[in-house]
């Protein structure tokens, strides 16, 4: 290696260093310039002392009744069509016990697990669990890989296969991302019940805070037998079923 090479190298090194020193404060200033106005008395956020859940009483759920599904579709702006490419956030399942022949009917939706497999597998952390136990898809981060749909033991998720128009202002949805029951998070944050729970005439869907021992749902769970679906997977879903 000759002298010129060495000189050239040291020149390049020095100038790169100088450039970095020159640019760095400017970059920091940009952050300052973009400083956000502070909100006084920060508004309230999802609270980890709360765990939202539901108790579904299958003995009160009528076969053929679809009121919860209709209410969900209306609340969230879903088309209500049932082609294999259409989104279904909640669905009615008709069951028949193999051994006894007993019939029952129940609504199935995202079970809002404490240990959600969809959150584990999501490569971009788009699937996440809020502090209050609601499992959501952050559609700003979802790249549409559908791995969560493969991982969900309850088939709770749908992929938006077509461009959508005129979505509800409260429920943004869009092509190429995965979506599921949000437990009507936009209603819950206003202190309302999820639409399905409100719509059920037989009061088969009881919504409430599983962490509050005095809530109606907690007292009911203590007094009647209820199970979680696929409890063997130990995901601790927030939705429980009575009479299953």
């Amino acid at each position: 290696m000759n002298d010129i090479d060495i000189q050239r190298r040291s020149f390049l090194k020095t100038s790169l260093g100088a450039a970095a020193v020159a640019i760095a404060p400017g970059m920091l200033l940009i952050d300052v310039a973009h400083g956000k106005p502070q909100t006084v008395n920060g508004p309230k956020s999802a609270n980890s002392k709360v765990r939202w859940g539901m108790l579904i009483n299958t003995t009160q759920c009528k076969s053929g009744c679809n009121d919860c599904v209709t209410a969900c579709n209306r609340e969230n702006g879903l088309s209500g069509d049932t082609k294999p490419t259409d989104s279904q956030w909640i669905r009615k399942i008709e069951l028949k016990d193999d051994s006894s022949g007993r019939d029952l009917s129940l609504p199935m939706m995202c079970q809002h697990c404490e240990y959600p497999p969809c959150v584990d597998v999501c490569p971009t952390t788009a699937s996440f669990k809020r502090a209050d136990g609601i499992v959501l898809v952050d559609k700003h981060r979802c790249i549409g890989c559908r791995y969560c749909m493969m991982a969900c033991p309850y088939k709770a998720r749908s992929f938006v296969h077509e461009p959508l128009h005129d979505q509800k202002p409260d429920v943004p949805r869009g092509k190429g991302t995965v979506e599921a029951c949000t437990l009507c998070v936009h209603r819950v944050d206003q202190g309302l019940k999820p639409a399905c729970s409100e719509a059920c005439l037989n009061k088969a869907i009881l919504f409430g805070d599983l962490n509050d021992p005095e809530s109606e749902i907690s007292r009911k769970i203590r007094s009647v037998a209820s199970v979680q679906v696929r409890a063997d997977l130990r995901l601790n879903p927030g939705i429980r079923y009575q009479g299953l």
């Binding site: 490419t85 597998v121 952390t125 981060r141 790249i143 493969m150 033991p153 997977l233």
Partner: protein, 393 residues
Amino acid sequence: MPTLSSLRFKNRLYYVLLAAGGLVALAGLYAVHLMEHHGHIITGMNNQIVWGVPHVFAIFLIVAASGVLNVASIGSVFGKAIYKARAPLASLLSIAMLAGGLSVLMLDLGRPDRIIVAATNYNPTSMFAWNIVLYSGMFSLVFVYLWTMMEQRMNRWTKPVGFAVFAWRFILTTGTGLIFAFLTARQAYGSALLPPMFIVLSFAWGLAVFHVVQTVIYAWNEKTLDPAILQRKKNLLGVFVIGSLYMVATYHLTNLYFAHQAGFERFILLEGGVYPRLFWWGYVLFGSLLPLLLIFSPGLEKTKYVMAASLLVILGSFALLYVFIIGGQAYPLNIFPGYQVSSSFGDGQIATYHPSLYEFLLGFGGLAIAFIITTVSVRVLNFMPQDKPYISD
């Protein structure tokens, strides 16, 4: 001695082939554009079969990309001369197929425009996220490996880098297997056997691809492969095909042993229509037994039989992946064990899937990308295996 006119013809043929590859790749991109515009509604995929034909192509390419490096490893790690001579070509094929496979996987996303999010928001518990690291690491490592082989001053580093590549590709194929193995709720996938199964499959598929490309390159350059080398390599392919069959059989047998998965096995091996047909005819008969016959029958030592066996192994791999990926999703998820279920969302029913033309265009587009990278590289750099007179080691 080739005449001037034959050289001219070949030159023209080269560009025709390259243009054909380019057209197929463009058709793939056009399919992506349509999928972007209309959404996945124009594919056959739906909320039950969420991964379809593009994933069959992508996983084939990625698994074969890892397996083809076996040829390089036997040379660098175990010091076998005839494999060492083939390590550069194997590395090139690996890069080409990885690029093709990843393109397909990426372009099938619902929001491919947002792929950068995968880098800015990284989820360490996701096998997919780990695979992104494994794939990009593989790219860089194989590039370095190629460099150490083709730049004489770097030759002394070939062995350690070769070791690193050897280890990395094992982890990479393990990662590919784990994408499925971690799906514990699905009858078809939650099995610890899947990573080793994918590793053994990768050996067979990678070597089959290597045979095909090597045969074409030798024919193009009007050279003949030393029959002793051909003999050795085709026997190796035979061993890998037997190994694959063993792993696939073990996977199904363990599933049969678990009582609650017998229903799934009955579906996939007997009653599932297209899936058992593809499995038995496509994978077992045409993709494994027939190639074995071609490989081990005495008197069939010619290149064309090895070529035929390799092509059959590749076809068989697509059949197996179709059964594994799509058949595995078609069988209904057992959400309520002990109950018969029905719903508007396909509960308790076999899901239907009709792959659309666009999915195939995208898949073949991925193959075309691999083809273009290979043909261009083979022309501008020297990837031709340089054999010394064959001495058995």
